[in-house]
């Protein structure tokens, strides 16, 4: 790295200052507050009272169910979304007529145009007793319950996060050099082997990026489990809403959210190693 000649250091600092300030104020300061809170005590009337105790962390298992739900349903939801998004992105990037491509991509994103709440309400109707289960029993299937079960949360996760998963996979498939597939075919690989040995490995960075986006958002989600899980399938996010807004136990809530931050941090580290790692060589851009 060579420093660009002639630009005074003071100018560089001045140009960076707004971003650094914003970063410090908007991200680090709240995080610091959370850390301080996490070691404090609940004030008698709720809120925060200064103290130094590890009790909040030791109490984390009390919310174990929320952690278990989040840590099982978020990865499974992410995986399901990726599995369903891949063929969509593959079709858009490699199989569909280019003149339809933009239209279809916009359609994939279309659900984002309406409110999340509205869309989950629609799913409550669809998955509720008078929705899909009713149609299925009309067709002779045994009665099943979907709403307020983990299944409903997973269906909601796939539906809600598909628009975030498709674009990064699409981009990595779109910029895949199609001549590589010809080369692979020329060297004797059947279409399936070409897909497994060339297309898939080269699209993995896109899958990882999409999975990362969805996983982080899904881990912190509380609207989805609240509406489609109906309070029975609750996430860490729901626990936080409860702790901060209902029982006003801010220090305990701070400890729970710190645990969530720690889990995210580890996930991002794994992602960085996976996508940027390899032979210590930056192989692919983030998107």
């Amino acid at each position: 790295m060579t420093r660009s000649a002639g630009r005074p250091q003071i100018l560089t600092a001045a140009l960076l200052a707004p971003a650094v300030l914003l970063f410090a104020v908007m991200l680090l300061a709240p995080l610091l507050v959370i850390v301080v809170f996490a070691f404090g005590e609940r004030a008698p009337a709720g809120g925060y009272a200064a103290a130094f105790t590890f009790d909040n962390f030791l109490n984390l298992p009390a919310r174990g169910k929320a952690f278990i739900n989040t840590l099982t349903l978020a990865p499974i939801g992410t995986l399901l979304t990726a599995v369903i998004a891949f063929p969509v992105a593959y079709f858009l990037a490699l199989r569909c007529d280019p003149k339809w491509r933009v239209t279809l991509l916009v359609l994939v994103m279309a659900p984002f145009w309406t409110s999340q709440l509205l869309r989950y309400y629609a799913w409550i109707m669809l998955l509720g007793a008078k929705g899909v289960p009713a149609w299925l029993s009309y067709l002779g299937f045994p009665d099943i319950r979907i709403i307020n079960t983990p299944w409903a949360v997973l269906i909601g996760a796939v539906y809600g996060y598909l628009p975030l998963m498709v674009p990064p996979i699409y981009v990595s498939l779109e910029k895949l050099d199609k001549r590589l597939l010809e080369a692979s075919s020329d060297l004797g690989a059947t279409p399936l082997r070409s897909f497994l040995q060339v297309t898939l490995p080269l699209a993995l960075p896109g899958v990882a990026t999409g999975a990362m986006l969805v996983f982080i958002l899904l881990m912190g989600d509380y609207i989805l489990p609240q509406y489609l899980g109906g309070g029975k399938v609750f996430f860490i996010g729901n626990a936080l809403v409860d702790l901060f807004l209902q029982s006003r136990n801010w220090p305990y809530g701070a400890a729970v959210s710190l645990a969530l931050v720690a889990i995210m941090f580890v996930t991002i580290l794994v992602y960085m190693r996976f996508v940027l790692g390899g032979s210590g060589q930056r192989r692919v851009a983030l998107v």
Partner: protein, 353 residues
Amino acid sequence: MNLFMYQLHRGVVGEVDSVIEFRKVTKRFGDVVAVADNDLAVMPGEFLSILGPSGCGKTTSLRMMAGFEQPTSGEVFIRGANVTGVPAYRRPVNMVFQHYALFPHLAVSANVSYGLRQRSPKPAAAEIARAVDEALAMVRLSGYGQRRIHELSGGQQQRVALARALINRPAVLLLDEPLAALDRKLRRDMQIELQNLQRDVGITFLLVTHDQEEALSMSDRVCVMREGRIVQTGSPRELYDRPVSRYVADFVGKTNFFKGPSAGEVLSIRPELIDIAASEAELPAGVSARFSVKVLNRIFLGEHTEYVVAHARLGEFMVMAPRKTERHAGLYEIGEMIAAGWRPEAERILPND
């Protein structure tokens, strides 16, 4: 019939079976006819080039041999077997792509071994490793196996692409403008290397190029294409000395065209076959046509000097004067009146297509 006997018969159409053959092959893309009713036979062990400007159908022809495209009508044969409709992955030919198309996520050795690893049954690991070492040695890249593709220079990538194709011992190696992406100096080196490689491995090479110099210098035979049709096939010398039409004469080497004896014909005279001298009397004996011309331009090109001269009736034409004649007669200045002429055998009357 073994390889050596093939080599003896090399280039003689009809005596040995072709290794790739087009029979009445036509390829249309919508309304556009890319390849029109072509017959072509590639002989075992030969180095054949398909030469033509972009859009003449040469790449489409190559892609039909590889199996990336299927003919609209006609048939393709490889080693006597009709492979029309057979996909690329079931054809015993391999291709070196214009921009190499190396797999960026695989190391050099994994790129080179790719073809062997697709085989069923898959060869043993030790066997593959040995073949990779051999192939890399062949293209002078021993020890580069663990490198990643993006760490290699253009010339090295080119050689990996060659090794990746040749390791499979294809019936024919198809080369799609393989040198186009290299700089001039490297291109010359690779031309020589390709020729040597072809002689060493004894595999049939089929090269597609728009560069006439490349085609002439490397190939045993050249096939000139125009607008989807094969215009002429022959040795480089045949094409140069006995072009069948104005188009071939123009495309292969430099030449001067003059008005022909009839409207449909032109007179072609290669610039190196024209003699110049200070006066008509000083032109060598045997020169039948003698003209008084004016020097319009002079370009020094090292081993020879290129003159553009003008004659009142014939118009402007080009003359290549070797250094030797320069030593005899000296340099002619721009604007000077000199004499130009040629022997009767230099004249070639060609259809004006």
